[in-house]
Amino acid sequence: MPRKRGLSGGVFFVTILMVVSLIGGFSYASSKVEEGRKIATTRKLGNCVSCHFLPNIESPGNAGPNLVESMKNYTEADRDIVRQWIEDPRQFNPDTLMPPFGANKILTKEQIDAVVEYLYSLKGVK
């Protein structure tokens, strides 16, 4: 009996831990997404919308591709590629208009992480 109680206590504890970390994980991820959205849509930060279509933005630019469409072509395994695009797109196209956000220190590594998180959140859109 005491043993069992101990066990169920353990199970209970582990369950709580899992739930807490899951919620924490989700809210961490969703706050990252929100941070990334801000960076992508704010003029003084990434300003991705100046060239790319992103949802719920009035008159986005059209110099670059629609990123909702682009993200349909990227799987979870491609996170590094998406990251590299933002880090320094010249490695994919030396004559690209897209600025090297990482290489030219326009955005920090953490900010780019957040933008990648946001871009992946677009996979659910339409």
Binding site: V49, C51, G61, A63, D95, L97, P99, N104, I106
Partner: protein, 274 residues
């Protein structure tokens, strides 16, 4: 025998290697020009679709910078400096000796071993021929005089030369146009050739054919007239690059490069832009 030939070959190869490299370096210096993304006619259509015709209508109502032409004419006839001369003293009461001249500017001038522009020449005349102070670039009087002198060639086809001694300066201008600058890492040519007719947010980027045929122009955003080189500075600020001084060697070369792109089009000043 064979060994000796081999040695000679190696020596020759070593001697010739630098030549090969210098040739490669020179090939690397050549700029591969982009294919324009659209024609000017396509741009005008895209412009109308996106912005509507309100700027066109405004232009039809009249250009506020037209008023500067009268002031420019008056300045042209006004004596300035220690030698008791006006521009008209040398160039004719109505500037008749300058008719058609501005259509061939910018041009190479052996006296400065570089490229001369109308605005630059006006100040050289004042200093060297009139004993007067140079006019501050972008000041009302500088712009008014430039406008007046250029208006004497209005309607005439732009015909700048890039032959002979002008050539290296044209190449330098082109190189500048294709050089990436600033934190955004843009170049003029990226926006105005490769991505022309695309929008960066609500800014539709024009191909460069008509970039140099209408300056000084009245710009709504400035609320007054300004020069082509003021536009250079504006675009460089947008690129987060450090703008260069008016009439710097780089900007005179750049003006030559861009004006050559407009060869054959009629000169029409003052222009009007958003």
């Amino acid at each position: 025998m064979f060994k000796k030939a081999f040695k000679v070959f190696i020596c020759l190869a070593i001697l010739l290697l630098p030549l090969l490299f210098s040739k490669m370096a020179r090939a690397g210096d050549e700029i591969k020009e982009y294919e324009p993304n659209c024609t000017y006619e396509e741009y005008e259509k895209t412009y109308l679709d996106f912005y509507g015709s309100s700027t066109q209508e405004m232009a039809e109502e009249g250009n506020p910078a037209d008023l500067m032409l009268d002031d420019g004419e008056e300045l042209f006839k006004t004596v300035a400096g220690t030698r008791g001369k006006s521009c008209a003293s040398c160039h004719g009461e109505n500037g008749e000796k300058l008719k058609g001249v501005a259509a061939r500017y910018p041009k190479y001038d052996p006296a400065i071993k570089g490229i001369n522009t109308i605005a630059y020449q006006i100040n050289r005349c004042r200093v060297e021929k009139m004993g007067a102070k140079p006019l501050k670039y972008e000041s009302y009087d500088q712009l008014a005089l430039t406008l007046y002198v250029k208006s004497l060639s209005n309607g005439m086809p732009i015909n700048v030369s890039i032959d002979g001694p002008a050539r290296p300066f044209y190449e330098k201008g082109k190189k500048f146009y294709y050089t990436r600058m600033g934190q955004w890492n843009f170049s003029c040519a990226l926006c105005h050739v490769k991505y022309a007719c695309k929008r960066v947010r609500t800014n539709l980027m024009s191909p460069n054919r008509h970039h140099a045929d209408h300056w000084p122009s009245y710009r709504l955003k400035w609320g007054k007239a300004g020069s082509l080189q003021r536009r250079f500075r504006g675009c460089m600020k947008n690129m987060r690059a450090k703008p260069l001084p008016y009439q710097s060697e780089e900007y005179r070369n750049l003006e030559l490069y861009l004006t050559y792109q407009a060869n054959g089009l009629p000169l029409e000043v003052p222009g009007m832009r958003m």
